[in-house]
């Protein structure tokens, strides 16, 4: 087998040695803390709706960054940087879908 299983065999080998378990624990804790903050803000009604939405969106953005760096090793890898292309495409789709959904669903404010 080529790439995929070659990497599997090196499970304990050189290419994976740099992923210390500490890194995963840190990432895990960070993601838990970020989740806890958003839940706490929502449950305690700490702010008005509009600023709350903005804060939650920013926290969600941090969450993505944590996932990408601590678990998906976005900065590593060899060969052509397909993943950067995929990330850019993903960002475009995400923003397009989110903003256009706001645009489409904004009709409620006119109707009701």
């Amino acid at each position: 087998m080529s790439t995929s299983t070659d990497k599997l065999t090196q499970g304990n080998g050189p290419s994976h040695a740099k992923h210390r378990s500490g890194q995963y624990v840190l990432g895990y804790l960070l993601s838990l803390v970020l989740t806890a903050i958003s839940f706490a803000l929502a449950l305690t009604h700490a702010m008005h709706v509009a600023p709350l939405m903005i804060v939650m969106t920013i926290l969600a953005g941090f969450q993505i960054v944590v996932q990408l760096f601590f678990f998906m090793h976005v900065t590593e890898g060899d060969g052509p940087p397909y993943h950067s292309l995929a990330l850019i495409l993903g960002l475009i789709f995400t923003f397009a879908i989110a903003l256009m959904s706001v645009w489409i669903m904004g009709f409620g404010s006119q109707v009701s």
């Binding site: 087998m1 080529s2 790439t3 995929s4 299983t5 070659d6 599997l8 065999t9 499970g11 060969g79 052509p80 397909y82 495409l89 993903g90 789709f93 397009a96 879908i97 256009m100 959904s101 645009w103 489409i104 669903m105 904004g106 009709f107 409620g108 006119q110 109707v111």
Partner: protein
């Protein structure tokens, strides 16, 4: 009968609902007994487990997808027959309104999610690694998980027919109808959970094949040297990866509404049912491109092979595939123009929807130009491809009509729409995947499907198609709406409906002929001894049929597009068919594992528990899922080597040394 037993049979087995249920029960029981008895009699249980259920071989998984897809096509087709029988005459009482609702719901859901999706995954699995010169997909174990999640998701959905009751709110399952207040039954839960489970598998397949194609191509196969089917898989995988999460979210939120009592899609407490519609179609529209893009890929391979010409406009074919996959994200609101989002929104989405016709038109012209002055031979795959062209053009043209937002207020949810989407979905994915099935069948099984019976099936299915769906355009203009379970006499709809029903029966007959063809060909089909029955152009045809399970004894080096064809022109295709024994090295392969099957089973148990709110069962299932994941995490010894000597023996037996 004791009262408790009667209550059980009425609530869960629905024996009070009439003979359709009884017939299904009997057929299911007989089929199950038949399968168990056959396997036991021929002592095949161990073989089934070792060779198939635990397999991580992409070719085996592909074949299992194909079998499942054909079975689901039968189920969905049987639903269609029932619907058309009901509509054949006015004031019909063949089905009640409730049963009609359930049957059109299961027909739609099964055809899209449990027939079209596994059919394209069958093609992905069988073809892609062979076309790009790889020995398996990037993540073989994940591939097996994908299959078993799909399989058990489909089982969970299908079992609703005889246990608990089918979903009945349409394949789109819009709230507020699907909220608990209006739809108590377990049917809707079956829908939500089975789609969720198979959806996980679909996302994993998208990731798997994108990684496979980007990372595991044979040396020298640059992106622009890839066969067009592989390109279509790239495009479809991109769409799968970015579209399916929207469905996951929509279903999860609706499930929370139903199970936990949240208010995402209710009219109370700030919820908005139209938000579900919005989320559903963010996935739903890309989904139809997910199923049609691989069909486009199949047509590209078939046209080039049977016209004996290099495909016309390769670069524009690739560009249009990718363009379709990107535009597919910007058209979803055309499914609910009539919501009243305003002229600006509708205009944007109308124009975006019409734009899809441009890259699609480019593809159609490229196929036609490829055939132009080609030496065309009319074998089964080519027949279906030729039939696709006029069919899809009509479907595309009516699609542009529907995309005109003001006019859509007239067509919306009428039989005009029904005729349109059946036309594009049958001409595209169904014709495409049947063409692909005929084309790669010899590669899968080592024999061709019988040409004569296939032609009968082809003509029946095609003529039946037009007889069935052309009248429905007219019915739409005459005001007939979709999802009506019956209609009064004197509306002027009877004749057209009757014709449409006759067409549906002819299509059903066509499908039966395909079944007969497969059964007949197993025994009498022409054996494919060369591995290249169609005078093919790409790497998979340089292998024997069926391919050995390591695929390539020596990974070929690619220097051209249509590698095999170029080598044939230069008279050196022997280089691919005669292996130098010294070049064979040990081959590294993944080990089979029973865990993906067990994980699917655990998901099934968990899903079943959630459907009936039996939380103990649900927790047991989820624990099973967690266990299989933990066991996998601690598994180190999951691969082995096929020794070079063994490979040489296999290749020698195939006469390739």
């Amino acid at each position: 009968m004791p009262a408790a037993l009667k209550q059980f049979t009425d609530t869960y087995l629905m024996w009070n609902e009439g003979y359709l249920i009884w017939i299904s029960d009997i057929l299911i029981a007989l089929t199950s007994i038949g399968i168990v008895a056959t396997l036991t009699y021929f002592k095949k249980w161990k073989w089934l487990w070792k060779e198939w259920l635990t397999s991580v071989d992409h070719k085996r998984i592909g074949i299992m997808y194909l079998i499942a897809a054909l079975l689901m096509m039968f189920r969905g087709g049987a639903d269609a027959m029932l619907l058309r029988t009901q509509l054949a005459s006015p004031n019909s009482h063949f089905l009640t309104a409730e049963h009609y609702d359930q049957i059109f719901t299961t027909h739609g859901t099964i055809m899209i999610l449990f027939m079209a999706m596994p059919m394209i995954f069958a093609m992905f699995n069988i073809v892609v690694p062979l076309q790009i010169g790889a020995r398996d997909v990037a993540f073989p174990y994940l591939n097996a998980i994908s299959f078993w999640l799909f399989f058990f998701g489909a089982m969970l959905f299908n079992i609703s027919f005889v246990f608990g009751g089918s979903p009945d709110a349409g394949w789109v399952s819009y709230p507020p109808l699907t909220e608990l207040g209006f739809d108590k039954g377990p049917g809707e839960n079956f829908y939500l959970l089975s789609l969720q489970i198979s959806g996980i598998g679909s996302i994993a397949t998208g990731i798997n094949f994108l990684a496979t194609i980007l990372k595991m191509r044979a040396p020298g196969m640059k992106l622009m040297r890839m066969p067009l089917f592989t390109w279509s898989v790239v495009a479809a995988s991109i769409v799968i990866i970015f579209a399916f999460p929207a469905l996951t979210i929509a279903l999860a939120l609706l499930m929370l509404d139903r199970i936990v009592g949240t208010h995402f899609f209710t009219m109370l407490h700030g919820g908005d049912p139209m938000m579900f519609v919005n989320l559903f179609w963010i996935w739903g529209h890309p989904e139809v491109y997910i199923v049609v893009l691989p069909a486009f890929g199949v047509f590209s391979e078939v046209v080039a092979t049977f016209a004996r010409k290099r495909i016309f406009g390769y670069t524009s074919m690739v560009a249009s595939l990718l363009l379709i996959s990107v535009i597919s994200y910007f058209v979803w609101a055309h499914h609910f123009f009539t919501m009243g989002a305003g002229a600006d929104v509708n205009t944007f989405f109308a124009v975006a929807s019409m734009m899809v016709a441009i890259p699609t038109g480019v593809k159609v012209f490229n196929w036609l130009f490829t055939m132009f002055r080609g030496r065309i031979s009319f074998e089964l795959p080519m027949l279906w491809t030729l039939a696709f062209v006029p069919n899809f053009i009509i479907g595309g043209a009516t699609g542009v009509m529907l995309a005109v937002a003001p006019a859509d207020y007239q067509y919306h949810n009428s039989y005009f729409l029904i005729a349109h989407f059946h036309q594009v979905l049958i001409a595209g994915p169904v014709f495409g995947l049947i063409a692909g099935m005929y084309f790669w069948w010899p590669k899968m099984f080592g024999f061709k499907l019988d040409e004569k019976i296939g032609r009968i099936a082809f003509w029946l299915f095609n003529i039946g198609f037009y007889v069935c769906f052309m009248p429905q355009y007219a019915l739409g203009f005459k005001g007939m709406q979709r999802r009506m379970y019956t209609y009064p006499a004197g509306m002027g709809w009877h004749t057209l409906n009757l014709i449409s029903t006759i067409g549906a029966y002819i299509m059903g007959l066509g499908f039966l002929f395909i079944v007969v063809q497969i059964v007949y060909s197993i025994k009498y089909g022409e054996r494919d001894l060369t591995g290249d029955p169609w005078n093919g152009r790409t790497l998979e045809w340089s292998l024997p049929s069926p391919a050995p399970h390591y695929n390539f004894a020596v990974i070929p080096t690619v220097t051209d597009r249509d590698m095999l064809w170029v080598m044939k022109q230069e008279g050196r295709e022997g280089e691919l068919r005669r292996i130098n024994p010294d070049a064979i090295a040990d081959i590294h392969m993944p080990k089979n594992s029973g865990r993906p099957f067990l994980m699917g089973l655990a998901f099934f148990v968990a899903g079943f528990g959630f459907v009936f709110n039996w939380y103990v069962l649900a927790v047991i299932g989820l624990v099973g899922v967690a266990l299989t994941m933990i066991l996998r995490a601690f598994e180190w010894d999951d691969e082995y080597h096929i020794l070079a000597e063994e490979v040489r023996e296999v290749e020698a037996a195939l006469g390739r040394l």
